[in-house]
Symmetry: C2
Subunit: 435 residues, 2 copies
């Protein structure tokens, strides 16, 4: 690792001998001169070699294939004709660490599926590199905010002995003989256990699993869920207030570090949301949609088209990309959402929409065990499989609330991609378990 210079640093090192480590982008082999463009994760540079200086080096360069891994040494010189920062490297030596097989299995216009088949190569594209860097920055900023707010980090188990929230879309497996384990669909119950356990405020970033057979652009069978839970909230309003400040700080961090590059590569202006984010009750949202001719018939929730129309309305009316939709009826929410004291048909819950897509569900939780059990019964749940869950609330569990965010969905909307597959390190779907 010794003596490596990152390509991003070359501008300040003109006149010096350096060693660069990276990949071959292109080779132009001319009659007397050879040009090699190489890149690493920080940038690209032109390497130049006069063939007569070294026939051996010239032969090595002629043999190079695109994407090969190389270590290149030489002197950095100014050359105002060179697009890549006005600096090029005069070749002194080159080591070919790993010659790429040719032809490459993907080109820039390859299908998304073929790109995923060759994820070890498609990851090298400038856009995919940026996606991972933005994700890294996002998570870093999330943790900065949580740390300042006194959160503890938890890693809850993904193997569960009982089907959790719904039992639908659940993967199961044989576990030591005749036992059955289930893969966690969310850390919901465990972050509530942490609150009961006095950790006060907790977050988790980890995988969740959904045995969902659909192939939409928004679904995958495994994704990274970002979850947080706060003790002593008094209503979903407290949770929204926390989430909007948290999210604004995350988006601000991404804009500061990657805003220019996101604009350049994705054509998207990252907008840091003003807080407070507009809030609207589901009932009011439906009335607005109906006035605009969009009637949602039976289900008490918004449909995808309704979400898009509502975000358009909010953008027109408030100039805002985000909207909290609040107070969902009990029949479309989890049984553990707290109900409004003055209207037990409505939950103290919300969804957060960004540019027409739902990115978060949050709520004040019911922490009083008798009411919690009554709500579960009311929603048709068998109480026995939930007995471990109910126990969390028997010994002084504080009031609490929280929310969960899909990491790739957040990335997809931020970068205005049309499919979660484009922003996932390695997508998993009903027909996709490889590579």
């Amino acid at each position: 690792m010794s003596n490596r210079t990152l390509i991003s640093a070359v501008a300040g090192l003109v006149g010096q001998e350096v060693t660069l480590k990276g990949f071959v982008r292109t080779v132009r082999d001319q009659k007397r001169i050879q040009f090699l463009v190489m890149y690493d994760h920080t940038g690209a540079i032109q390497v130049v070699h006069m063939k007569e200086d070294s026939p051996a080096l010239a032969a090595t360069i002629s043999s190079l294939t695109d994407e090969s891994a190389v270590v290149v040494s030489g002197k950095l010189v100014e050359n105002s004709n060179v697009k890549l920062g006005g600096v090029e490297l005069q070749l002194r030596s080159i080591e070919v660490c790993n010659l790429a097989q040719s032809p490459l299995p993907i080109q820039s216009d390859s299908s998304l599926d073929l790109r995923i088949d060759n994820r070890h190569l498609s990851l090298r594209s400038a856009t995919d590199q940026l996606v991972i860097r933005v994700q890294t920055t996002m998570e870093r900023a999330m943790r900065d905010f949580w740390e300042r707010a006194g959160f503890a980090e938890i890693h809850s188990p993904k193997l569960m002995g009982v089907a959790s929230e719904s039992g639908a879309e659940l993967f199961s497996l044989k576990y030591f003989g005749d036992k059955t384990a289930y893969l966690a669909q969310s850390p919901q119950f465990y972050k509530q256990m942490a609150i009961a356990g006095g950790l006060d405020r907790v977050f988790e970033v980890g995988p969740v699993f959904r045995a969902n057979p659909s192939f939409t652009s928004r679904h995958d069978t495994e994704f990274t869920s970002v979850d947080m839970e706060l003790a002593w909230t008094e209503s979903h309003e407290d949770v929204m207030r926390f989430e909007e400040e948290w999210l604004a700080s995350v988006i601000a961090a991404v804009k500061a570090k990657h805003g220019d590059e996101i604009l350049e590569l994705f054509g998207v202006e990252v907008v840091v949301p003003q807080t407070p984010v507009p809030r609207i009750s589901l009932a009011d949202a439906r009335a607005i949609l109906e006035a605009r001719g969009h009637v949602i018939d039976h289900k008490a929730d918004l449909d995808p088209e309704g979400e898009r129309m509502l975000s358009t309305y909010i953008a027109e009316t408030f100039g805002h990309e985000f909207v909290f939709v609040t107070d969902y009826p009990v029949e479309v929410r989890a049984f553990y959402h707290m109900r409004h004291p003055d209207n037990p048909q409505l939950t103290m819950s919300y969804d957060l929409l960004w540019k027409g897509l739902e990115i978060t569900t949050g709520a004040q939780r019911e922490h009083r065990v008798d009411r919690l059990m009554a709500q579960a019964t009311d929603r048709g749940f068998d109480l026995l499989p939930l007995e471990h869950y109910f126990k969390f609330f028997e010994h002084g569990c504080p009031p609490h609330g929280g929310c969960g965010v899909g990491l790739t969905r957040l990335l997809m909307i931020m970068l205005q991609r049309s499919n979660v597959r484009e922003v996932t390190f390695l997508y998993r779907g009903p027909n996709r378990l490889t590579p």
Copy 2:
């Protein structure tokens, strides 16, 4: 959430009216005066109430059970007789948010199994709170170091289409009809894919799964693995050099933030390792152990007793808690470890021992696909299930190395606990899938 004062802040607020939110530790109900000790995640405080001031309040306090969740308001006053910081709260009002059922299902001397059965309560103990706080600080410090070193974060899939490294100890599940998925035992292949994909340096903190039926103090069926991989390392020495600096900074961060509390609650002095950590080849380690009368017969690895004896030797000789054991023979290492150019029977790999227990395995990886396939064949692997893996190395994968660390094992040794179950948020074992 409004107006909450954390108990850690009371010393600076004497004379003021505050609202505290937390749990009941004890109630002493005397003839004319009542004492309530309450705590939150930051500390404990005595609350005092003269019964004659309010018979209603007195009745509420008399009804309180241990561990109930309460919101208490009143005036902070100095009282030099009080152990808890010399400050107590004169009660003005109390709200009982959640009365704990009595008696509690666990006491301070309850068995570990019963404590795990009631994790929502055992988490409230000072020791278990500290474990989670130390873990949070550890991970934070890890990420600080990685960020300064230019790492990207990845979340690799836990559902895999093919059995990975060994096929042993692997959980499998039915996946959409007749397909089979496996739960990842490590992110090894995917962090290597990320390196092939040009991400240069990557880390992942996430769950791994081991269908290991054993019940030792060091094993669980699911745990949090801390993995990192670095492009352009030239040998395992580069990886060790990185890991020791990383680990020293992590331990220093824990010592700075929690050193006093760890000493007080666990009786353990946290020692920040001097770098470089001593290195010893496995062959030399075995010779030393043999000279001390411990002969490891057939297997080419250290046994647990050998690891303990070696750490004792290193402590005596170098005054160091850590030791890198290097150059393991090929038959006890993964097929993808690079072999020494001058001795193909030995791998360019290492284990890191801390106080007699292995916490890390690391290695330079074989990145040349022809050698990699030959090594897999040599070790008896069927190449077909590995074809996706081999493809990572066909298009210019740089030389690279990395290592993996078990998070709970690290915590267990740091806090000198005898069992990973004592330092896991929620333990999973062959007979343990709940709560």
